[in-house]
Subunit: 185 residues, 2 copies
């Protein structure tokens, strides 16, 4: 299987898992929807969990690339970019098929703290926190690490509530909190 084929398999599997959930999605469905036979899939991924991990690696890169790029496109200053995160989120929430954060859901379905999927899901959040911390530092905020964590809490809360309410409003509500936090810095 070529690199491209493999990547496309992962990309298609991502869509299915995101739409259907991890445990609720059987490998037969993955095979059927990707057009790749189950044996072929298992030739490249030893277990379903390994396929899920590959999916999460792709999603981690895609999502961070998209979010950080969008923040840079929407604002010039570090402080502006931090606020623009919530505008980017609002765009995401408004997308058709928005179903919340894939990592939160993976973490919810694979709860064991020792599980690789659980650990990798949290690792994504750490990378987000790191980026936010760099921005709060660049913005010259007082307590950059603490502020970054607060902004991350706002982001996660908005993501969860937008998914549950099927409404993008939490993005703006979280943004207004972020504005107060950043203006007081």
């Amino acid at each position: 299987m070529s690199r491209n084929k493999r990547d496309e398999l992962i990309r298609n599997a991502l869509k299915i898992f995101y739409r259907n959930g991890f445990n609720a999605t059987g490998m037969d469905l993955v095979a059927k929807e990707t057009g790749v036979s189950k044996t072929s899939i298992y030739n490249h991924f030893r277990t379903k969990d390994e396929l899920i991990l590959a999916v999460l690696r792709l999603r981690d890169e895609d999502f961070r690339n998209w979010l950080f790029r969008r923040m840079e496109d929407l604002a010039d200053t570090p402080q502006g970019q931090l606020l623009a995160m919530f505008d980017a989120l609002e765009e995401w929430f408004a997308e058709d098929g928005y179903q919340g954060c894939m990592f939160v859901k993976a973490s919810a379905e694979f709860q064991d703290a020792e599980n690789a999927i659980n650990r990798q899901s949290y690792a994504h959040k750490v990378l987000l926190e790191d980026h936010l911390t760099r921005l709060t530092e660049a913005a010259g905020c007082d307590a950059p690490r603490a502020l970054a964590r607060q902004l991350l809490i706002l982001k996660e809360g908005a993501i969860v509530l937008a998914a549950m309410s099927h409404d993008k409003a939490p993005a703006r509500e979280a943004k207004s909190v972020a504005q107060q936090l950043l203006s007081g810095a």
Copy 2:
């Protein structure tokens, strides 16, 4: 089956589903761990989904009772109670076996917006929002509904991050944001 037996079945099922996840938990396991045979369970709940709905109803009552009671115990004024919510959350996060919010997880596993489990999960959040709104109104805040929603975002973000990081710190971090929001009112 007596009311008590039935309630205890629901209570035991709650523990199993919370620990194991919904889709990942088979009815055979529920029967084994509750000591009630599968046929008996199906005599009282037509489907697994109905059992899950009963579990969520119990969890909704239990959790709101516990949280609101705890907030009242920890503070006298409405504003103090709103802040105390995050102290109560911190106690919850520190409990053994804390695994995040059952409704967020139910919503993540049953994503269809028309699904009864999905709807009931969101209904729980609406009830929480209503209570917070009553408190922000009682506290004489400027925009009570908007503030309540912001506090709810902080709560949900803290719950998710505490679960993913296996750390209770998000409770305090969210509380410090709440303090800024409430002091500016």
